[in-house]
């Protein structure tokens, strides 16, 4: 589904150039659950930003369903994020002025997705055990609940690929397990799931595991 070839991103920090992502070859298929581990600052988030079109690569290729994404215009990237590649930001990524249900549905409706998202959103909230929280505001939710709402938002419009940047950081074992179970179910339903983590206990049998260190990615 998504393949990168020699993907490189160079940053200039204090007049010194360094590759945050260095010639990364990566591949993920539909129905695959893939974990990316590595220390902080190793380039995981930059890699995610590159493959979701948030940051432009300096060299290399990103192929999505055979199409070279590096050729896409900003508008086409936006359209792709709205429909096929869903990106869950690191940390708290809920909109504070909107209820849980609105947080899941309104951004997608803003991007032109269909109106009947609400039914699917309520199903997802039930799956996450948050059905009673639909009208609550993010400030009334715990950290684990907020992450689950963010994940529900990432999958409600049925994207092909879900990219989640450290979705389990700062979560207890119970919440981490809930999220990993959800990922497993989403992968089983045919979606490609790519997530980053520091927590090696998240790794499960059958998962693809990549490691990243100083911008260089290796498959474990």
């Amino acid at each position: 589904m998504l393949t990168t070839k020699k993907l490189t991103k160079t940053f200039d920090r204090q007049s010194r150039c360094f590759d945050a992502v260095h010639e990364v070859d990566f591949s993920i298929k539909a129905g695959e659950l893939c974990a990316l581990t590595g220390p902080s600052g190793c380039g995981k988030s930059t890699f995610f930003h590159l493959i979701s079109g948030i940051t432009k690569a300096d060299s290399g290729k990103i192929l999505f369903d055979g199409k070279d994404l590096c050729e896409l215009s900003g508008k086409e990237w936006t359209q792709l994020r709205a429909t096929q590649i869903s990106y869950v930001l690191q940390g708290d990524s809920l909109l504070p002025n909107f209820s849980v249900l609105e947080n899941i549905c309104l951004p997608h409706q803003l991007c032109g997705s269909k109106d009947e998202l609400e039914k699917r959103a309520l199903e997802l909230l039930k799956e996450f055990g948050l059905e009673a929280m639909a009208e609550e505001y993010p400030s009334n939710l715990s950290g684990g609940e907020r992450r689950r709402v963010a994940l529900a938002r990432a999958v409600v419009h049925e994207p092909k690929l879900v990219i989640a940047d450290e979705p389990t950081s700062d979560l207890d074992e119970e919440n981490t397990a809930l999220i990993m179970d959800h990922f497993q179910r989403q992968a089983e339903s045919g979606k490609a799931i790519l997530f980053s983590t520091h927590d090696l206990s998240c790794l499960r049998p059958g998962m693809t595991h990549y490691k990243m260190k100083k911008g260089i990615m290796t498959r474990v």
Binding site: H49, S52, G53, I54, T55, K75, T78, Q79, L80, R81, A82, T83, S86, Y87, L89, S93, L94, L95, P96, N97, F98, E102, L106, P107, H108, Q109, L110, C111, G112, D115, R153
Partner: protein
């Protein structure tokens, strides 16, 4: 639903930040309200000025020396006057070169006592020579008043239908003039014959200790010049070519009202300047609030962008918020302005010492709509910069929450 997502999100953002929202609405309200109030004041003054000079129908007005201010105040502010000069001067002025017609008027004040229906300005005219009041009567289909008959202005409300009392004598009202929103709405008109009766009444003597003959007195002489003749030149002729002991001063209609015209013009200029300054202040205040809050909301826009919202949608949210603030503030300003004008008309006129306030509902509603549109434009203009910044900022920076 899809169509209204931007609006729904903007409304939600505004309602969830009530203090910020109402502060911004207050700024816009101030603009709309002050624009409404100052425009009504200036428009009313200008309208009264132009209607008064138009209604007068004369090119030149001759009054006793040193009474020109009283005359102007009577015409513009509606202050009652009763100065006079000898009628012998009328013939001398009528014979001057360039004078086509002249007609005397006599001003009397009624008393605020039981002997009179109301304290009003009584104006006597000569139907033989008159070219001003006769024209109004024709326009209103009212016949020329005869001996003992009177015509009343639109604001006069007689206690008994068809009758008014002045200095204990009853006079028949044969017609009421249409509203002009000038001083003439509060005046009572009659011929010199009737004025003579009033001045010869016992009550008049009791009040003023004299019974002069109205036919010998003139308060102002309205002069119409011959076609093509410069009214200023004729006025100058009246002032300088008449005998040295002439107690009169002649002014062109605009000349006698010059102070009122100047005050109205400067009031209009101050008002326009004030509105411009308030607009700048409101734009600056809204711009600051928008910029500060947009910077606080960078992450929020980053989240939306990461979910696939394009820059147009993001700036659309900011612009819609600006438009809603403008609409609410503008509507509140225009509505409260209109209601205040209707309810507190008399108080405003007394406190601000203005002779007239146009409270015609259609005029107020049209003006209110204009004020609302200006408030809307100002608010949208203030949000444009933030909208532009949101749309121009790179996605990476938005997601990281970097200051725009």
């Amino acid at each position: 639903m899809k169509k209204f997502v931007i609006q729904a999100m903007a409304v939600k953002n505004l309602t969830r930040r009530p203090v910020r929202t109402w502060s911004m609405v207050f700024f816009v309200f101030m603009l709309s309200f002050s624009l409404m109030l100052s425009t009504v004041l200036v428009d009313s003054m200008e309208e009264r000025l132009s209607k008064t000079t138009d209604r007068l129908g004369a090119d030149i007005i001759v009054v006793p020396k040193e009474y020109e201010h009283s005359m102007a105040d009577s015409l513009f502010l509606g202050e009652k006057c009763n100065f006079t000069f000898d009628k012998k001067w009328v013939e001398e002025i009528a014979s001057l070169e360039g004078v086509a017609a002249c007609s005397p008027q006599l001003y009397m004040k009624s008393l605020a006592a039981g002997c009179c229906s109301a304290e009003v300005q009584l104006i006597a005219f000569d139907p033989e020579t008159d070219f001003a009041i006769t024209a109004w009567l024709e326009d209103s289909n009212i016949k020329m008043p005869g001996h003992g008959e009177m015509i009343i202005g639109s604001s006069i409300r007689p206690e008994t239908d068809g009758e008014v009392i002045f200095f204990n004598d009853h006079y028949k009202v044969i017609g009421q003039l249409e509203t002009t929103r000038t001083n003439y709405d509060t005046c009572v008109f009659m011929t010199y014959e009737t004025a003579t009766d009033i001045m010869h009444s016992e009550k008049w003597y009791e009040a003023f200790r004299e019974n002069p003959d109205a036919n010998d007195l003139v308060s102002s002489l309205l002069v119409r010049t011959e076609e093509g003749v410069d009214a200023k030149l004729v006025a100058r002729t009246i002032n300088f070519r008449m005998s040295d002991d002439s107690p009169l001063s002649a002014y062109t209609t605009n000349g006698i009202m010059s102070e009122a015209i100047e005050s109205t013009q400067s009031m209009g200029n101050y008002s326009r300047l004030l509105v411009v300054l308030i607009s700048i202040l409101v734009v600056a205040a809204l711009l600051c609030i928008f910029t500060i809050t947009i910077n606080e909301r960078t992450k929020e826009f980053g989240i939306l962008a990461s979910l696939g919202a394009d820059s147009g949608k993001l700036s659309g949210i900011v612009l819609t918020e600006g438009a809603l603030i403008g609409l609410i503030g503008g509507l509140l300003g225009a509505t409260i302005g209109t209601v205040a004008m209707l309810i507190f008309k008399d108080t405003i006129m007394t406190v601000l010492k203005v002779p007239a306030l146009n409270t015609n509902l259609f005029y107020l509603l049209t003006l209110g709509l204009k004020c609302m549109l200006l408030a809307l434009a100002v608010s949208i203009a203030a949000s444009l910069y933030s909208a532009w910044k949101v749309s121009r900022n790179d996605l990476d920076g938005l997601i990281r929450g970097e200051e725009m």
